[in-house]
Subunit: 117 residues, 2 copies
Amino acid sequence: MNDKINLAEKLATFTEHWAPRTVARLNDLDVMVVKVEGEFVWHHHDDTDDFFLVLSGEIDIELPERTVTLGEGEIFIVPKGIEHRPVARREAHLLLIEPSGTPNTGTAETAAPRREI
Amino acid sequence: MNDKINLAEKLATFTEHWAPRTVARLNDLDVMVVKVEGEFVWHHHDDTDDFFLVLSGEIDIELPERTVTLGEGEIFIVPKGIEHRPVARREAHLLLIEPSGTPNTGTAETAAPRREI
């Protein structure tokens, strides 16, 4: 059986941005931590909602008609099919939850590999 | 489309223990906040893993062979089918994720109703 997961300890093991690390599995979902800074790409997921929880820092989730700004302890769930672009003016740390194998850019060709830590 | 969810604001809207509030939906899952204190009941879920993230405080998750103690920023996922009992010596606040309709006690007869806030 899995052990407990300390999110700060997991985040301390890497420095790259926009490269999620899977820290646990919940049924068919990956629970991931990621460090972000700067602008990601506009993308959407045809088959799943997209869960963001800010662990530290602040991010903007740009949507077609508006921007949602999230601080520490705030969640936003992008509904499936909706275009979005995460942007972080300074480094922020996030918890992400998506079905295992979901490409982080929306398409397999450009997605970061799924890595477990 | 949903707005962002501030977990501290959601937690400030109620005081009961062991009565999860659904704050968002992720595909077919409920994302919930809960306040806990004291001993819950031993139970298991036949059909789903059980996700716990401690937002504040500390909890023990008692398992058949051991106890996992979780502090703030720590996750534990109880695999489906495994008996467990959460215990909090003082009030703790958690984020829970389970398929919508999963009874928190393992059986519908004794489960807290699902409430959205």
